[in-house]
Symmetry: C2
Subunit: 146 residues, 2 copies
DNA sequence: TATTGTTATACTCTATAACTATA
DNA sequence: TATAGTTATAGAGTATAACAATA
């Protein structure tokens, strides 16, 4: 068997490389961790969201969201409001500083993504899109079966 | 911007899922770490290889290879022979126990990979193959430029 | 001077679960 | 009993660089 041709390995190597590409922006230029960047992106619609929803939208654990949110609150990027519908919960919402950061950061990562995608034709992108989705579904199936 | 549609995020999530699928085999059933599994796979051709070559073939740091090899040597999976061509180096080589482990492990991860790929037509697989390669090249380009 | 492999160290991440307060 | 969020802790993984031996 050839490791170089093994799909999980290839995807892992690519993910690592893409993560570094994007990380050069959010980590090195803006001092955010990966989790903080995901929380920022998950709040991008400008709304207020419960932590558990942010977790679902960002593929993070509730604990990771809690910690990232605490750091971002301390940095003045977001605020925590009591959830009016549930006394246990909080709603997260970007503050102006968080929105400003987002507005600077997103065009930069977007243009990196665009550069990456220039490697593919529109048809290839469509296939890739489907492939990522379907492989994810199959992987979930395998994982649920053990 | 929609995190769910962002390519680096999608690839990261998929890589995580695929890594768990394969990890269920090499970690949970055979007690190997990811690095040890990669070293095992990189020695799969039955030959003797320098650590620096294993590192290149497995996308690991020389330090990770050194540590993984030390653990695998202690476990009797591989042996270290002095490199006849370079007094500084060692050649790694699977021992019978390592080859036996490999022979049991590979069919299992192979069948998982095959199950995953059933989600795609042969044409889609070919496109995915090209896409992974080209995206990796572009990412390397971005990283080298900063 | 550069390279192979080893070791040290500090740091980050991850996983698990205990814990509180509400539902 | 179950859920939202917080906190604690231990273990794993990562990054950096110093180091000895050899090229």
């Amino acid at each position: 068997m050839d490791l170089q041709q093994f799909l999980p390995y290839r995807v892992a190597v690519l993910a690592e490389a893409l993560s570094q590409c994007v990380g050069q922006v959010y980590r090195e230029r803006f001092g955010l961790s990966r989790d903080e960047w995901r929380v920022l992106a998950a709040l991008a619609d400008g709304g207020s969201h419960r932590m558990v929803d942010i977790a679902a939208r960002s593929t993070l654990e509730k604990m990771q969201v809690s910690r990232a949110a605490a750091r971002m609150e301390a940095a003045g990027l977001l605020g925590k409001l009591p959830d009016p519908d549930d006394g246990r919960g909080w709603l997260l919402r970007l503050k102006p500083a968080g929105r400003a950061l987002y507005a600077k950061l997103v065009p930069m990562v977007r243009s990196r993504e665009a550069f990456l995608l220039e490697a593919l034709t529109p048809e290839e992108r469509a296939v890739l899109d489907r492939a990522l989705t379907r492989l994810g579904q199959r992987a979930a199936q395998l994982l649920s079966q053990g």
